[in-house]
């Protein structure tokens, strides 16, 4: 690990010793400080990651062998549905917002988020929503079992658990929209003097574009589930075929949200990786402007490809071709990004600390996940692979090895700034290698299972799929346990059991947060820095 010999500590607005802020539990309930709220988001995300992880392990335990062993099929369906909802809305999105809260004001030289109270509210909407989701398991009729996509007619006919889920989605959507408005306003209005948009760190660009996406698509999801609710309780027939409605219509509306949502989950990860790779390559990012344009191109194209999730619903041939080609087109800006990351490393003075290892893990596995996405974009292939384990493998390579690995990378990269303590490099490397191997043991065999025809969302399967399912289950438990190493590494930093972090622990880092002392003071950049 490289560290600078002297802490170059820039001035900040106040001496923290003279600042009064509440302590104890009320500090966290009442806080309007972006760092506190960022911490709350990150812990909430990790908690939900564990809850969703336990559900994943329940699924994998049931699938260890053919036949029904542990849970009833209805409960299994609830597990797959809630696992998806919790991981997407409870774990990955809040983690990305946590990073945004912690880092965006510091990266652009702002004192805090533009709307500090709304920021607090955005976070505190999440725990009730999570409780509603989990409570849905215990109401008559059981939890939502229609998949995370909540397709009708199943979702129209289900029990009360679906109502709780719809309400939870509404609350989480409101939280996301408020968070997005806050992020956009902060970035557009509170940048330090001299920091033009094209001087902004790429993490901020990635979040600015993500926030635009969220504002465009979250209300559409809210509209879709509102129509679902009125179909269930108020006699409308938006999606009820018996009343003249169209269940496929829900799929169109849902995926108009759902596909940009994939990019909402991955663009902040792109931002983190774009910060980490140049620092550990000790080179400026290759093609900054093209990276920004690629982010924007991915975001725009993400609105035009939703029906590639619906190739088997009887779309007209012209539609199939359009969605196939546009989906493939997304590979171009994504390829630009991957090329630029590799070009940044080319002839760089690379060191392999944990943030860089996770970034490289991301790069390799996300590219693999992206490639299987291209395979699925081909209509005749997709018709064969629709709803098989190949799709499960594909999106876990994108979501877990993509978003999650990037968040691990970001955590190890910025935790010296957050806690003032260096993480334990040895433990972090064990975490990386254990996660990398376990992840591939868990998810790579799913490609084989899918190609062999194993359908997803089933608690039982033919005997021919047994071996790879066993391997996958072992990998899943291994991956889950590996995350306890991450928890230990983070707790060690929080307990200050480790070397004291200098203001700039990474030799190649040159963004604004590294001009602050470590840990970052409670209030920062009250006097805006001037960017030259």
């Amino acid at each position: 690990m490289s560290s600078v010999p002297h802490d170059h500590v820039a001035g900040h607005g106040h001496d923290d010793a003279h600042i009064h802020h509440p302590s104890g539990i009320m500090r966290w309930v009442m806080t309007t400080n972006h760092k506190d709220i960022g911490t709350l988001y990150l812990w909430f995300s990790f908690t939900m990651f564990m809850v969703g992880g336990v559900m994943a392990l329940t699924i994998r335990s049931e699938l260890f062998e053919p036949g029904l062993q542990i849970v009833e099929p209805e409960f299994f369906n609830s597990m797959t549905s809630l696992h998806g909802l919790i991981m997407i809305f409870g774990a990955i999105m809040p983690a990305a917002v946590g990073f945004a809260n912690w880092m965006i004001p510091m990266l652009i030289g702002a004192p805090d988020m533009a709307f500090a109270r709304m920021n607090n509210w955005s976070f505190w909407l999440l725990p009730p929503a999570a409780i509603l989701l989990i409570l849905s398991l215990f109401v008559p009729g059981g939890g939502p079992a229609a998949g995370w996509t909540m397709y009708p007619p199943l979702s129209v006919e289900m029990g009360m658990g679906m109502d709780l889920t719809i309400f939870a989605v509404h609350i989480m959507g409101a939280s996301s929209i408020m968070g997005s408005i806050n992020i956009i306003t902060t970035i557009l209005n509170l940048r330090a003097p001299g920091m033009t948009l094209m001087k902004m760190p790429l993490f901020c660009w990635a979040w600015l574009i993500t926030a635009y996406l969220l504002i465009a698509v979250m209300p559409v999801l809210a509209g879709a589930v509102t129509m679902l609710l009125t179909d269930r309780h108020f006699g409308t027939s938006f999606f009820n075929a018996a009343g003249g409605g169209d269940p496929v219509l829900f799929q169109h509306v849902f995926w108009f949200f759902g596909h940009p949502e994939v990019y909402i989950l991955i663009l902040p990860a792109f931002g983190i990786i774009s910060e980490v790779i140049p620092v550990f390559s000790r080179k400026p990012l290759f093609g900054y402007a093209s990276m920004v344009y690629a982010l924007a191109a991915i975001a725009i194209l993400s609105f035009l490809v939703w029906a590639h999730h619906m190739f088997t619903t009887g779309l007209p041939t012209a539609g199939l071709l359009f969605y196939m080609y546009v989906t493939m087109l997304i590979a171009v800006p994504t390829g630009v990004k991957v090329f630029n990351w590799v070009a940044t490393m080319w002839r760089g003075s690379i060191t392999f600390e944990a943030p860089m290892l996770f970034a490289l893990g991301f790069l390799f596995l996300f590219t693999l996940g992206g490639f299987t996405g291209l395979v699925l974009a081909i209509v005749p292939v997709d018709i064969q692979l629709q709803d098989t384990y190949y799709v499960v493998a594909h999106f876990h390579y994108v979501m877990v090895a993509g978003s999650l690995f990037a968040f691990f990378s970001g955590t190890y990269y910025w935790i010296p700034k957050w806690t003032g303590t260096m993480y334990d490099e040895r433990i972090a490397k064990i975490h990386f290698w254990s996660s990398l191997i376990a992840f591939n043991v868990a998810f790579f065999p799913m490609h084989f299972l899918g190609l062999a025809g194993m359908p997803r969302r089933i608690p039982d399967y033919s005997q021919q799929f047994t071996d790879w399912n066993m391997v996958s289950t072992i990998g899943a438990f291994w991956f889950g346990l590996s995350q306890l190493i991450f928890l230990y590494a983070v707790l060690k930093c929080i307990a200050h059991k480790g070397a004291k972090a200098p203001a700039k622990p990474w030799e190649g880092a040159n963004t604004l947060e590294w001009t602050l002392p470590s840990p970052a003071p409670y209030h920062t950049f009250e006097i805006p820095p001037v960017i030259k």
Binding site: G109, P193, P201, F238
Partner: protein, 80 residues
């Protein structure tokens, strides 16, 4: 990418991030985006309620047009 670490912390701030003017600017930005969110939420339901893809597309097109006209109008006013 420019070296953002080379910042002059002692230079006087040209603006106060918590000034009334800044607050109003923040509120304006937030209201624009909140209105976009509201239009999308109501729009998707109304479009489906009235029935037909045409209604939805017309609505989204009109909304896009209005936002572009407003944005150009504001830009022209600021230049004056």
């Amino acid at each position: 990418m420019p070296d953002l670490g080379r910042s002059d912390m002692s230079a006087p701030a040209p603006r106060d991030p918590r000034s009334e003017q800044q607050r109003r600017a923040n509120l304006r930005t937030a209201l624009v985006f909140a209105s976009i969110a509201a239009v999308f939420f109501v729009g998707v339901i109304v479009a489906r309620y009235l029935g037909g893809v045409e209604t939805g597309m017309t609505m989204i097109g009109l909304i896009g047009l209005v936002f572009i006209v407003v944005a150009i109008g504001r830009n022209l006013r600021d230049r004056r």
